[in-house]
Subunit: 445 residues, 2 copies
């Protein structure tokens, strides 16, 4: 009899995992709560653009679906900081050929669903809500939202890739004794704005870069879309700060806010107020839990490690769950051991990913505008270029390598201590490029 | 029209709060998921005995129901430690007239239900499960488990005193955007045993004490019941330690375990194995969340700050929620401001209570067997006796005062730093009682 797998959620991770499970010889059924987004109108600027990087590419490549995604990905080899006077500072993310890639979540998800159907031979049932689960029996209780019918389906394995508000986790796992769980919202929310192409259809900002307006306690960012527009996102506290969403209570205040703190952006952005009201204010949370597997069920992606978006690693980590799970299954050749190894090795990486993401908000909104920070980056980039085996900057470990997140964060802390000492040198601005400094750093490794 | 309040949960806190709300002029309706425990057989040894102390007494006194509870409370002015050889060490909890009081949870809850009905004029509906809530409208959706009927009830205010697994919190609050929530299970579980009275109906251990068998990583405790028996509780890791529940896989191993680590208890305890199998192994968790109030709803007791039982403060904190909420209502005279003040002032105390409770597990299972710890306690007791305005030991602040938990924990940390220095004096065992030491301590305050 053919082995059967149920995947809950036809998002990015669920769709990709379908391809892997087809390779493993399983018949794949996917249940997705929402309607088929491919039949709805997809706006490229509808949600935070995603930054695809090496971990994500590897997982796509291993499933043989890299090329389809390459077509819609816009390389961003560095970030451009916009100061209050509209002055720009460019900082490369990594070495010459390294880049992160802007992709629209909606467009990517549509492609991934095609891939799940065509390469994963998956049957996707839309508008099917998960109501409950029997974890040990591999049973999912579902409601067909088209007709209200409630029914059960059963499989040899069930993967819950149903996002930060996972129904499987909430309805079944959270009720199990000794399941650790936390949902934590940061003080800040976000709101999107769409900066359109100019009248000739051209990009109004440099296309191949991630733009940041770092303002200390808050920031605006912009990522390029394929059509010449940019998806921009304002991250800011809800309240209790000099600038806060809940204080922008009138159109006048909103306009004044942008004019004051993002003057160059304000001058490029038509219909700012209309645009402001078209997009909701959304919250940002971290979800942690353990265990990640129970009986025949495993959580993947946001359902087990939802994070804030500041390292651009949420999707990449979810895709990496697929390649990690796959490698472990190749090694163990049975799912009981694979599940065990998956959660024990991968949980520390999920925690590290979240710590990295939280920390990178400070980096993006504040440090990138800081001379010392940029100098440190330059020194580290040079070391990395000359001694790639001895020094990989934390950002490169996270973004361009496959070093486990937990290892990267530990190495990054060590490197940061070394660099803090080096930057204390009163002549560092002059001699940062010297042999002496290089040797001093290498001696501490 | 008469104002109406719904209380979800007829446990200790819900029942007491009914009396307060009746005083405030409300008609009180209570919905309780379980059957009426007064109609079921109540075993005094069925659940962890509770240690009632000053915070709890004050809340009972303010509601005019102290006397009913006094009748079933057994004073425990100190703890008695049992070492491996059966040697006993006594340590008073506070000053001469201070004590904590052993009460059976089942018996106390039955009394509190009587009080809710008689003094609170509450109508208690048993076997009614909360399915959902409309927080802003004050609506509770309920299922009558007697006949399966589902219906809604509405009130001016709703208080959820429905415990660590609060249905109001799970079904309604946890789904609200930006609700912070965590459930965290410690590595250890617990199992109860009932040490019966001897053949003449007498207590086999000193009645007026809390007994502890501290064994470093685990411990056994015993609290007196009214009938000559003791409710005993073994706290121990589930696994991965020298002694662990999951390793006690046979009756022989269980018997050998008690014989080895609790020999004096083993010799007193008849039918150990039968008793062992009569009681389940239960987990221990900390639940944190915020906000505690939403719309017309407020959480009280375990539903907002469930804790591990090691400081004997879970019930006392829940009762104190009642007196705090009441005092705030007296002050503000409206519920909107009362709710706001309740959650902002009380949340840090809930967090402190949980930190204190977690920490006291180390104290009970390990430090109480330690000479330095007992010496420190002696020095602090003397200081407290002579300078009650200048030095209140942490245990006394928590147990015998009404100092907010958050303030107590902060003061306790300061005191602990001072005492750590004092104990470094190589002659401290001889001169602990000297004027010099006393002055040295007071000088640091």
């Amino acid at each position: 009899m053919e082995k059967k797998v149920i995947i809950v959620g036809a998002g990015l991770v669920g769709s990709l995992w379908a391809v892997y499970m087809q390779k493993a010889g399983y018949k794949v059924t996917i249940y997705e709560r929402r309607p088929d987004i491919r039949e709805a109108e997809i706006s490229a600027g509808k949600s935070i653009n995603l930054a695809l990087s090496n971990r994500g590419w590897k997982a796509l490549r291993n499933a043989g679906v890299e090329e389809e995604v390459r077509k819609i990905a816009i390389p961003m080899p560095g970030r451009i900081m916009h100061d209050l006077d509209g002055e720009l500072t460019y900082q490369p993310y990594g070495k010459k050929d390294e880049a992160i890639y802007s992709v629209s979540r909606g467009h990517l998800n549509a492609i991934m669903m095609d891939i799940a159907e065509n390469k994963g031979h998956a049957k996707i049932h839309y508008k099917h809500q998960c109501l409950d689960a029997n974890l040990n029996e591999g049973i999912v209780k579902l409601k067909n939202l088209n007709n209200g019918e409630v029914f059960e389906d059963q499989a040899d394995l069930v993967f819950a890739a149903d996002g930060a508000f996972s129904a499987v986790r909430y309805n079944a796992m959270q009720k199990v004794d000794r399941f650790n769980y936390s949902q934590f919202y940061i003080e800040d929310g976000y709101k999107e704005l769409l900066l359109p192409a100019d009248e000739n259809g051209n990009y109004q900002l440099e296309k191949n870069a991630l733009h940041i307006w770092p303002r200390g306690r808050f920031m605006l960012i912009a990522l390029p879309n394929e059509d010449g527009s940019f998806t921009c996102t304002l991250f800011m506290p809800y309240d209790n700060h000099e600038y806060a969403f809940n204080d922008l209570t009138s159109d006048e205040k909103i306009d004044q806010f942008f004019k004051t703190v993002f003057p160059d952006f304000h001058s490029l952005m038509p219909n700012l107020i209309e645009n402001w009201h078209q997009h909701p204010l959304s919250s940002l949370s971290i979800v942690r839990c353990y265990p990640w597997t129970m009986g025949k069920f495993a959580l993947m992606g946001d359902s087990c490690h939802a994070t804030v978006p500041f390292y651009g690693q949420g999707m990449n980590a979810g895709f990496e769950d697929c390649s990690v799970m796959w490698e472990l299954f190749q090694k163990h050749q049975n799912w009981a051991d694979t599940f065990k190894a998956y959660q024990t090795t991968r949980k520390p990486d999920g925690d590290a990913l979240q710590d990295l993401s939280l920390h990178n908000y400070y980096v993006m909104r504040d440090h990138v505008a800081n001379e010392d920070f940029l100098l440190q980056k330059k020194i580290e980039a040079k070391l990395h270029e000359k001694h790639p085996d001895k020094w990989i900057p934390l950002y490169s470990q996270v973004t361009f390598s496959h070093i486990p997140y937990s290892k990267a964060i530990a190495q990054g802390k060590k490197q940061d201590l070394i660099m803090k000492e080096i930057l204390k040198d009163p002549a560092i601005k002059e001699n940062w490029d010297s042999e002496e400094i290089e040797e001093k750093i290498l001696a501490q490794l």
